[in-house]
């Protein structure tokens, strides 16, 4: 999380930036005039910031939600793991090609119970972003994820996946090594995993790259995230034949957590701190943790067979079509 001094603001967060600037000014004046008490004014500004954060997330367009999901200060998988779990042991590699840094995973304790966590990982600075390939996995990332899921199944541990990707990596080596097959295989195996599986979109949920670790008994979306078949930018470029229609594409795609929940394509929304998860990592992680603990408890009441049957049947019901009289 950024300190107050080097915060980055999105266009629609500018009113908050102005309040921070005012605070800085007051603090500067307080230093120069130690006898004057600025405390009351500072407190007032702090509470105005709280109000602004609340106000901003109350009226966001779909595109602004997309922007929040990509906020440079947004918490990524490891930030959540650090706050929700103890004893996280990262496990590396797909045992075949290499270790994909865009996908991380390993066992950790969640409220005293061992859980397998798997998630896309984005980088927090320029160098790390490249190392993490901007959260875009290659086939070996999906295969590593599958290996870890099978490991969890063997030792009867629940699986939690945290999804945050602009898409599976579209590179020539990814094609050579079967990106399509890797994603398809994961979907197939996740359908049949005997242990409870919970998936959470914590940022971007782009297409097959997201679904490749996205099949679960419960699929949740954090409040300010998106999940659909294509990014608004690529959708604009293909359907509108221009890069300028991303806002419109975002609206048409109905990709926000409230849309997806309304359609029954995800099982619930996890609320974020006012203004977005980047304002308070601890609070965001605490809410997510509560939801995970409770859901794992619920899912454990079912037998593996019941879970698998309900999982398949849930996805089987998705879709809209007309049936003409035969």
């Amino acid at each position: 999380m950024a300190t107050k001094d080097n915060r980055q603001f999105l266009e629609f967060e500018k009113p908050i930036k102005e309040l921070y600037d005012q605070i800085a000014q007051l603090q500067h004046m307080a230093e120069k005039n130690p006898k004057v008490d600025y405390q009351a004014s500072l407190q007032q500004l702090e509470s105005q910031i709280q109000e602004k954060r609340k106000e901003i997330t109350a009226h966001l367009t779909s595109w602004q939600r997309v922007q929040l999901s990509r906020h440079p200060e947004r918490p990524y998988t490891s930030a959540y793991l650090k706050r929700m779990t103890t004893n996280f042991v990262e496990l590396h590699g797909d045992r075949n090609v290499r270790d994909d840094k865009a996908m991380i995973g390993g066992f950790a304790l969640l409220e005293g119970e061992t859980v397998m966590f798997i998630g896309h990982q984005k980088g927090i600075n320029t160098k790390m972003r490249q190392l993490r390939n901007f959260g875009m996995s290659n086939p070996e990332g999906y295969r590593k994820a599958l290996r870890l899921m099978k490991l969890a199944e063997k030792f009867n541990k629940p699986v939690v996946t945290l999804i945050d990707t602009p898409g599976a990596y579209p590179g020539p080596e990814a094609e050579e090594r079967g990106q399509g097959e890797a994603i398809a295989r994961n979907i197939f195996e996740m359908m049949k995993l005997k242990v409870p599986v919970i998936c959470v979109i914590i940022g971007e949920g782009a297409s097959g790259g997201a679904l490749g670790i996205g099949v679960g008994d419960r699929v949740f979306m954090m409040e300010n995230t998106w999940y659909t078949v294509i990014s608004p930018e690529n959708c604009s470029s293909i359907l509108w034949r221009s890069w300028d229609q991303k806002e419109k594409a975002a609206e048409e795609l109905k990709l926000t957590s409230s849309d997806m929940s309304r359609f029954g394509l995800v099982d619930g929304i996890i609320p974020e701190p006012f203004g977005g998860a980047h304002w308070d990592y601890d609070q965001a992680a605490a809410t997510l943790k509560t939801q995970l603990v409770q859901t794992i408890r619920e899912l454990k009441r079912l037998t593996p067979e019941e879970r698998i049957e309900q999982r398949i049947s849930k996805f089987s019901q998705m879709g809209f079509y007309d049936e003409l009289p035969a």
């Binding site: 399509g180 398809a184 097959g208 078949v229 109905k254 996805f315």
Partner: protein, 304 residues
């Protein structure tokens, strides 16, 4: 098909429109030739001369059709429609269509340059197709088979709710009648106008395929030119046998997207069937002329 529509479909696969006449439009034109009434045919006796887009070999419609739309000179496999595959595969060209009454619906009210429902109405008017996949059942080499074949002409063979539902029902039908399943893919990928619903069809179809797998009923996936995106990353790659026609472009990301990512030209033959076979993602490549025979043979081996 309008130029715009054509661009759209080419775009879906990120495919380059290398030839002066795109493959789909080409087929549309020769299809017209096939469907010309007998009276007209006399005027242009098996009339049309056609030119192969790959080697420029010129032959008559009749010759090409007898050759199952494979170029007699260079073995180029022209894109053909579901009805042609049904004729090629089923004994005596006899089959029963399944689930033909399921049609798409603009549930989201999706509008890009035109509303989705308009797009659907236009394709329904222009073609005799109801959606991008058709299913049929009949005998292939004497034993029963359920076959689904995509039609590229219907919004780029895109995977939407209808395709997902038909595949789901086909699996149920196979389970009920204990019949193997063949799906012939030819698709640019997911149908964007159905947004996340199209994405979820990947999970839906694979979920159903796990049931087929549990019942130990064989599923063969035949990939033809082109097979991309959500189709590749779901049921197309999950066959007990993954097979393909020669020279077909098959991949997850389209070549255009990959080129833009790496800012380099792609090697000759990249993402072609032969490339996939070499990298271990296909069981075998099958010529259309031996397709029926090879399918029947593979099914026989599962059955004995």
């Amino acid at each position: 098909m309008s130029q715009q529509e054509e661009d759209f479909e080419v775009n879906l696969t990120g495919e380059e429109g290398q030839s002066e006449e795109s493959k789909t439009r080409w087929f549309k034109r020769i299809k017209k030739g096939i469907q010309t009434s007998t009276a007209e045919k006399k005027e242009v006796p098996e009339g049309l001369w056609t030119k192969c887009p790959q080697c420029k070999y010129t032959c008559t419609m009749l010759e090409l059709r007898e050759n199952l739309f494979v170029c007699p000179q260079c073995n180029y496999h022209h894109r053909i429609e579901s009805s042609e595959y049904f004729d090629i595969l089923f004994d005596n060209k006899q089959y029963t269509l399944l689930f033909d009454n399921i049609v798409s619906k603009d549930f989201l009210g999706f509008t890009d340059l035109k509303p989705y429902h308009k797009r659907l109405e236009e394709v329904w008017k222009k073609t005799d197709l109801k959606d991008s996949i058709r299913f049929a059942t009949g005998n292939v080499g004497g034993s029963g088979l359920v076959v689904g074949v995509m039609d590229f002409e219907f919004i780029g063979g895109s995977l939407g709710s209808v395709m997902g539902e038909k595949i789901a029902r086909a699996v149920d039908y196979c389970l009920q009648h204990h019949l193997p399943l063949l799906i012939v893919s030819k698709s640019g990928g997911a149908r964007m106008m159905e947004s996340a619903f199209s994405l979820m069809q990947m999970a839906k179809t694979i979920g159903k395929l796990t049931q087929l797998a549990d019942a130990k009923i064989p599923y063969i996936s035949l990939m033809t030119d082109p097979t991309f995106g959500g189709v590749t990353a779901s049921f197309a790659m999950m066959g007990d046998l993954n097979i393909a026609e020669p020279g077909a472009l098959i991949g997850f990301a389209g070549p255009r997207v990959i080129k833009e990512t790496i800012r380099k030209e792609l090697p000759e033959g990249f993402q072609r069937s032969e490339f996939l076979l070499e990298h271990g993602f296909l069981d075998y490549i099958v010529d259309r002329k031996t397709l029926k025979e090879r399918i029947a043979q593979s099914l026989m081996l599962f059955a004995h």
